[in-house]
Symmetry: C2
Subunit: 348 residues, 2 copies
Amino acid sequence: MPGTESKKYRIALDAMGGDFAPINEVNGAILAFKNLKDKIELEIVLVGNENKIKAAFAQNDSSGLNYSIVNAEEVVTMDDDPTAALKKKKNSSLFKGVELHSQGYVDAFVSAGNTGAVMSTATVMLGRISGVSRPTIGQFFPSVLKTPVFVLDVGANIDCKPRHLYEFAVMGSINVSQTYSLENPRIGLLNIGEEPSKGTEIILETHKLMKESHLNFIGNVEGGDIFSAGADVIVCDGFTGNIILKFAESISVFLKNKFHQFADKGLINKFLTASAMPSLKSVFKDFDYQEYGGVPLLGVNGVVIIGHGKSSPRAIQNMIYKALEFVRKDINGKIENALNIPAISEQI
Amino acid sequence: MPGTESKKYRIALDAMGGDFAPINEVNGAILAFKNLKDKIELEIVLVGNENKIKAAFAQNDSSGLNYSIVNAEEVVTMDDDPTAALKKKKNSSLFKGVELHSQGYVDAFVSAGNTGAVMSTATVMLGRISGVSRPTIGQFFPSVLKTPVFVLDVGANIDCKPRHLYEFAVMGSINVSQTYSLENPRIGLLNIGEEPSKGTEIILETHKLMKESHLNFIGNVEGGDIFSAGADVIVCDGFTGNIILKFAESISVFLKNKFHQFADKGLINKFLTASAMPSLKSVFKDFDYQEYGGVPLLGVNGVVIIGHGKSSPRAIQNMIYKALEFVRKDINGKIENALNIPAISEQI
């Protein structure tokens, strides 16, 4: 990575990615500069419609900030096919941003755009880390502990073989250990029971594979172990993970609805619900994706951070910081090492 | 069914099934008699250790209640293998209760015992309804609507073919329409996206099958559509369904924990949390399995209601009522008819 030696980092930001682009992207970049605590040299390269980006900067005081703009006329929308950028929109902010990374001009690429499109473009343009069969995306879930639980895959790979799930576990373990300075995160395999005899053929084989590995594998975990933090990293295929993720994201809306139904039953209820709101808000904060600020696309030969379409400026800032962290800690190097331990890679 | 004509119903209750057996079972039976609103003749046959059952009845005023006891010395525990009753414990309350049903002595069997054991024993002893490949278990999830959402399968069948999922949809549809007097419940297929092109091979085929059927199939639904009631019946394999169910069951414990963490931060927080408790409790009530009082084992040629091991007397009462409803509405007859419509059964 060019930035690692010189202590100067260059991050490409897809300025047209999110639902509120480029406003939130520009404001997020400004926040990232203003709140930067580490003494490093950071340059943010905003990729997208130059006029719109300049107009957004003009609404703020951005003097002295080390940013640049790379013009890109096209936009990959949320409705576009995952292969849209690769096949049709080579002038899109998404394609150009990934291209800047693949050419070594930037150290990382950050986007709140179409997740599928970012993933397929990055996988094709950057390639995979040696030892990785399939890149993956995980998500942090709030838990009863102070550290959240990392569940992966959450939608990138819907059909998975044991080897894929094993690789997800290795990548998840390194991501969590580096993000939360947690030595040997506990790895759990999501299943319908704790007994090693439970589950589908694929789960049974994966269990065996993980048990024989160097991972801190604690065995099968169940749906209830996510919130209770029965493991630090929980591995599943992208079908199950995506359904769990979307279900989890719906909890706060559901609870708010139920609280309102309760409040509507009378004045006392209204008062009680109003008093409940501060504690409720504090709880809901844990469900707030903005806290985490995007997740890495693990396994590609580069640093790619993907955020929610609704990402706020603070979420964008956190995505930029996450990219910086990924580069500085050389997490990809650690993944490559872990997946190329001779004993493991030979036996599988 | 013998009871349908004579307006006299006989329900066998596994008195040794739940974690608090036979106390909660006996108290539940007493409640069922006392709260019975319909003018029907009900006999409850408690199956289990006669002395213990009598002792539990002795602690209550049970004069005039139409119950009988069938002695059974053995107990299938929660740790027993699903085939335990069939292979080793033929003197268990579980086996004897199902046997009473298979011999036509009772109209239904109700148990808060080992779900897997009830399921395999009932499937072997009672057989399947004509047209059903695999019996299934669903669960009601609370939703933003007044009626809950029925998700099935939730763990009985972890590997499912399209035909199985289609049958689950038919059985779920009839169960919901009869339970909530809901005409043509909306059927959704749980998936990682709404587009018909999304999902695994099995999901794609199932989507096609459901679309061609007589079901009110509204297409794919996502994890977020459970709480938001995007469909009345949501179909999935038992692997996904079980993980979602256990995840959902963990929400209230998680939230209580988070509220306590919030309260511990200071006196004002403590006060606010205390004020929040009534509304919280009202919301948590929706997560309370006792409200639903057990679920039917759908597809067996008999009426079998399975409840949670922790079932309270009220839950046991509701399970007995659920069994009565199942018998009186001839839900199995309706399932058989629906799965033997010539046009459908031939084409699949």
